[in-house]
C-alpha cells in the first residue's frame, strides 16, 4: 500500500518534470518517491521472509533504495530550498556510499554480521511478521552517522533559506526542512531503539519516509498549484492587454482625428488610419521621422523645435503647422501631444492627436473681418455724431494760424516790424499747424479701414486720447469729466483704434444718458487693476440709469434706448472687447446713474498671436 502511494507520487512528479524539464526538484522528488517505494517493498520482503537467507538478502538489498533515498533527499533539499552546505551534502552522500559498500562487503548485510535465527512476531492485527536476531554489524554506525549528518544538513539548509527568504520561502523552508528532519530523526531513533533491544522488532522505516514524502509533496504541489494560478492570471491579463490594444487600435482608427504615438526616442511608432488617410502615405513612410516629410518647409523648424523641446521636458505641447494632404494641398493642423507615463512615473513616449483646423481658422478670420467691418461702420457713424466737436478741434488751431499770419502781415506792412515779434508769431503758427495735424491724424486713424493691429498699449493713453477728441463735445453738452486713472497699470495687447472706439461710445452714451437730467452732469472715467491680472475700465454717468430688465438687452444689436441711433454701438463694443479677450457689462450705480465696465487682460511677454493672424500672414 505504501509502495503504491509512493509510486503514485513518483508518477505525478515525473509527469510534471517531463512537461517542464526545468523543474529538477520534481525529478528528484520522483526518484525519492520511487526509492521509498523500493524501501517499502524490501521491508515487505523482510517481514515475509521464511528463512534466514531470505531475510538477510532482503535486508541487504534494502540498502540500495535507502542509499537513493538519502542521496535524492540531499539534492532535493538543495534544489528546492536553494540552500545547504555543499561539503556537508557530499559528506552525507559519501558516507552513504561507504555504508552501501560495507553492506555488500561485510557480514550478512549492513545490519547484521551474522543472523542466528528468525522469530515470528504477532502484530496488532493478528498478522505474523518475521524478525531476525543475531550479531549486529559494527559498520552500520557509518549509516547512522550519515543520517545524523543528513538531518544536520537539512536543518542548516532550512535555516539558511529561512533567513534569506520572504514569507513564502520561509514557510517552505520550515515545512520541508522541519518534516524531513522530524521524520528522519523518528525513523533513525526507531531503528536505533530496535537495534539496542529497547523496543521489540520489527523495524519498519517506510511509513516514516512516506510521511516525509507527503509533507514534501504538499509543498511541491502547492508550488505547482501557485505556478498554475499565476500562469492563469498571466494568461488573463495577457488577454486583457490584447483586448485593450485591439480596442485602442479600433478606436484610434475610427476616431475622426489623426492620432500618433512616439517612443522615448522621439521616433513615431504608430499612426492611425485617419492620419494615413489624410496624408495619403503608407505607415512605413510615416513611421520614425517620416511624418516630417509632409510638414510645410516653412513650418518645419518651428515644428521640430517645439516637438523636441516638449519631449526633453516631458511636457504637453500644442502647435499649429501646415501638413500636406493627400491631394497636395497644405492644410493647417492643430497637433497636441501628451507624454505617456507609467504609474511609477516611467516615461514611455508621447501620444498625440492632430486635427485639420484650416476651415475653422478661415471661418474665424472671416468672422473677424466682418466684425472689423461692422466696427468700422459703427465708428464712422459715431464720428458723424461727433463731427461738430471734431470740427471745433480742427478750427481752433486754424483760427490761431490765420490770426497770427494776418497779424504778421499787418506788422510787416507797417514797415515797423520787430523781428523778435515776427519770430514769436511764426513759432506759434508752426505749433498750431502741428496741432491741427494731430487732430487730422487722429481723425484719419478712426476713419481708416485697415487691418486690426494688436500691439502693446497703455489703457490710460487710450482714455486720454478719447477725452481730447471729445473735449469740445463735452463742453457743449456741459458735461464735466472726472478721471481716476490708476498709475503703473500693466500694458494690454490691443488695437488702439478699436479700443478708442469702445471708450468713445461709452463716453457718448454717458453724455446722452445725462441729457435733460437736472443736477450736475458728471462723467467719471476710471481705470484700475482688477483681479486675475486684468485691467478694468469704467465709465460712470449720473443719468437716469438703466431699467434692470435692459441691463443685458442693451448689448444686443438693433436695441436702442435712444430715439436716434441704430442700436449697434454697444453690440459692436461688446464684440470688440470680446475679441480682446475681455468682458463688457453694465450696472446701475448705487448713488444714481449707470456705469459701463470692461476688462482687458494684461499683456503677457510670451503672447503670440496665431490662428487667424497666421492664416493671413
Amino acid at each position: 500500500m505504501i509502495a503504491a502511494a509512493c509510486l503514485t507520487l513518483a508518477f505525478i512528479h515525473l509527469s510534471i518534470w517531463a512537461r517542464e524539464s526545468t523543474r529538477l526538484s520534481h525529478l528528484l522528488f520522483a526518484i525519492l518517491a520511487l526509492a521509498v517505494a523500493g524501501l517499502a517493498a524490501a521491508e515487505m520482503l523482510m517481514m515475509r521472509a521464511e528463512t534466514i537467507e531470505e531475510f538477510g538478502s532482503a535486508q541487504r538489498w534494502l540498502q540500495v533504495p535507502a542509499f537513493v533515498v538519502v542521496v535524492s533527499t540531499v539534492w532535493f533539499v538543495r534544489t528546492f530550498l536553494g540552500a545547504g552546505r555543499l561539503w556537508l551534502a557530499y559528506t552525507v552522500c559519501a558516507l552513504r556510499l561507504l555504508s552501501l559498500i560495507f553492506n555488500f562487503s561485510t557480514g550478512v548485510n549492513l545490519s547484521y554480521s551474522e543472523i542466528t535465527g528468525l522469530r515470528q512476531l504477532e502484530l496488532w492485527g493478528g498478522e505474523h511478521v518475521s524478525a531476525a536476531y543475531g550479531v549486529f554489524n559494527p559498520w552500520q554506525r557509518v549509516a547512522q552517522l550519515s543520517l545524523l549528518l543528513l538531518v544536520a544538513y537539512v536543518m542548516d539548509a532550512a535555516f539558511t533559506a529561512w533567513r534569506r527568504g520572504d514569507r513564502d520561502k520561509r514557510r517552505r523552508a520550515a515545512s520541508v526542512g522541519g518534516s524531513i528532519a522530524f521524520f528522519l530523526l523518528m525513523a533513525g531513533t526507531h531503528y536505533g531503539l530496535v537495534l539496542e533491544h529497547v523496543i521489540p522488532p520489527p523495524y519498519v522505516g517506510a511509513p516514516a519516509f512516506l510521511a516525509m514524502l507527503v509533507a514534501m509533496g504538499y509543498e511541491l504541489g502547492s508550488d505547482v498549484f501557485r505556478a498554475g494560478r499565476l500562469d492563469g492570471q498571466l494568461r488573463i491579463s495577457n488577454a486583457h492587454l490584447q483586448e485593450s490594444e485591439r480596442r485602442f487600435g479600433a478606436m484610434a482608427d475610427a476616431a475622426p482625428v489623426m492620432i500618433w504615438m512616439a517612443g522615448t526616442d522621439r521616433l513615431c511608432t504608430f499612426f492611425n488610419r485617419g492620419w494615413l488617410a489624410f496624408t495619403g502615405r503608407s505607415i512605413d513612410q510615416e513611421l520614425g521621422n517620416g511624418w516630417t516629410g509632409g510638414v510645410h518647409p516653412a513650418d518645419l523648424d518651428h515644428c521640430i523645435r517645439m516637438y523636441s523641446d516638449a519631449f526633453n521636458a516631458h511636457r504637453d505641447f500644442s502647435m499649429e503647422y501646415r501638413l500636406r494632404r493627400h491631394d497636395g494641398e497644405y492644410r493647417w493642423v492643430l497637433d497636441s501631444g501628451v507624454p505617456r507615463v507609467e504609474a511609477d512615473g516611467t516615461f514611455l513616449g508621447y501620444v498625440g492627436s492632430a486635427v485639420d483646423v484650416t476651415d475653422l481658422r478661415k471661418t474665424e478670420a472671416e468672422a473677424a473681418q466682418q466684425r472689423n467691418e461692422l466696427a468700422h461702420l459703427s465708428r464712422v457713424a459715431m464720428l458723424g455724431e461727433l463731427s461738430g466737436s471734431l470740427a471745433h478741434e480742427l478750427n481752433q488751431p486754424l483760427a490761431a494760424i490765420l490770426s497770427n499770419a494776418q497779424a504778421a502781415q499787418r506788422i510787416l506792412g507797417r514797415g515797423a516790424g520787430n523781428i523778435d515779434e515776427i519770430l514769436e508769431i511764426l513759432k506759434d503758427i508752426v505749433a498750431d499747424d502741428k496741432r491741427a495735424g494731430e487732430v487730422i491724424k487722429r481723425l484719419r486713424t478712426l476713419f481708416r479701414k485697415e487691418e486690426v493691429r494688436y500691439r502693446a498699449l497703455e489703457v490710460n493713453d487710450v482714455a486720454l486720447d478719447v477725452l481730447k477728441m471729445m473735449r469740445s463735445d463735452l463742453l457743449n453738452r456741459d458735461v464735466a469729466v472726472r478721471t481716476e486713472l490708476a498709475a503703473g497699470l500693466p500694458q494690454v495687447d490691443g488695437d488702439p483704434v478699436q479700443l478708442q472706439q469702445v471708450l468713445l461710445n461709452l463716453v457718448m452714451n454717458g453724455c446722452d444718458a445725462m441729457d435733460g437730467v437736472p443736477g450736475e452732469r458728471r462723467l467719471t472715467l476710471r481705470t484700475a487693476a482688477a483681479a486675475g491680472g486684468e485691467i478694468e475700465v469704467s465709465v460712470a454717468d449720473r443719468g437716469r440709469g438703466i431699467p434692470p430688465a435692459d441691463l443685458q438687452r442693451i448689448f444686443e444689436p438693433f436695441v436702442s434706448t435712444k430715439t436716434e441711433g441704430l442700436g449697434l454701438g454697444l453690440a459692436v463694443c461688446r464684440t470688440i472687447v470680446a475679441a480682446h479677450a475681455g468682458r463688457l457689462w453694465a450696472a446701475n450705480n448705487r448713488d444714481g446713474g449707470a456705469s459701463f465696465h470692461f476688462t482687458l487682460p494684461a499683456k503677457r511677454d510670451s503672447d503670440e498671436r496665431t490662428g487667424a493672424d497666421r492664416l493671413s500672414g
Binding site: 481752433q396 494776418q406 498750431d432 463742453l475
Partner: protein
C-alpha cells in the same frame, strides 16, 4: 471833448487762439484786453468804458451765452461778437436773439472780424450816446419842481393851460409861468421838442 479809446475785450480759453487774435487786433490798431476765462474778464471789466467783447462760445466754467446773461444782469450793454469753432445754429440764434452783435465762425478772416468789431464799437458808441442823452434829459426832468412836473405831465397829454389850471386849482397865468420855466429847464423851444424829450424820459402821470 475827446472820447477815450474803446477797448476790445477778448475771451477765449484756447490760449493760442487768444494770442493770435490779440496780436491781430493790436496790429490793426485796437486797444485789446485778453482773458483766458470769463471769470477773469468779469473781474477786471469796467462797464463805464467804451468797448466790445469778442467771445468764444464754448468754454468751461461759463459758456458764452451764460456770460452774455451775466453782463445783462449788470446792466451792461457791451456788444458781443461771438466766435465759434463749429457752426452751431441753435446756439447762434439764441445768442443773436439776446442781442449779440455778430456771430462768426472760426477760423475768421481779419476783414470779417475787424468789420464786426468796428460795427460793434460803433453800436457801443451810439448806445452810449443815447444813454448819455437820456441821462441828460432825466437830469433835466429831475430838476423840475413838483408843480412843474405836474404841469409837464399834463402838457405832454395835450391839455390846454386853462384845463390844467382848473385841474390844479389855480389860474391860467400861473400855469403859463410854470410852463415857461419847464421849457427853459428842459432846454427846448417848441412844444414838439418838449413832448419828444418827455416821451424819451418816460414822463407820465
Amino acid at each position: 471833448m475827446s472820447e477815450p479809446a474803446p477797448t476790445v475785450y477778448l475771451v477765449d480759453d484756447d490760449i493760442s487762439v487768444l494770442r493770435g487774435l490779440g496780436r491781430l487786433l493790436a496790429a490793426a490798431g485796437l486797444k485789446v484786453a485778453a482773458f483766458a476765462s470769463p471769470g477773469e474778464f468779469l473781474r477786471s471789466f469796467d462797464p463805464a468804458g467804451p468797448g466790445c467783447l469778442v467771445l468764444d462760445v464754448a468754454m468751461p466754467e461759463l459758456s458764452g451765452p451764460e456770460l452774455q446773461q451775466a453782463l445783462a444782469a449788470r446792466r451792461s450793454e457791451l456788444p458781443i461778437v461771438f466766435l465759434t469753432g463749429q457752426g452751431d445754429i441753435p446756439t447762434s440764434v439764441q445768442a443773436m436773439k439776446r442781442g449779440a452783435a455778430d456771430f462768426l465762425t472760426k477760423p475768421v478772416d481779419e476783414e470779417t472780424l475787424l468789420a464786426a468789431i468796428r460795427s460793434a464799437l460803433e453800436r457801443d458808441r451810439s448806445l452810449r450816446k443815447a444813454q448819455e442823452e437820456l441821462a441828460r434829459i432825466e437830469r433835466r426832468v429831475a430838476s423840475l419842481t413838483p408843480r412843474e412836473r405836474e404841469v409837464l405831465e399834463r402838457v405832454v397829454e395835450g391839455r390846454l393851460n386853462k384845463q390844467i389850471a382848473a385841474e390844479l386849482g389855480t389860474v391860467e397865468k400861473t400855469i403859463k409861468v410854470h410852463r415857461a420855466s419847464v421849457m427853459q429847464k428842459m432846454g427846448v423851444r417848441t412844444l414838439a421838442d418838449l413832448v419828444r424829450l418827455a416821451g424819451r424820459a418816460g414822463v407820465k402821470r
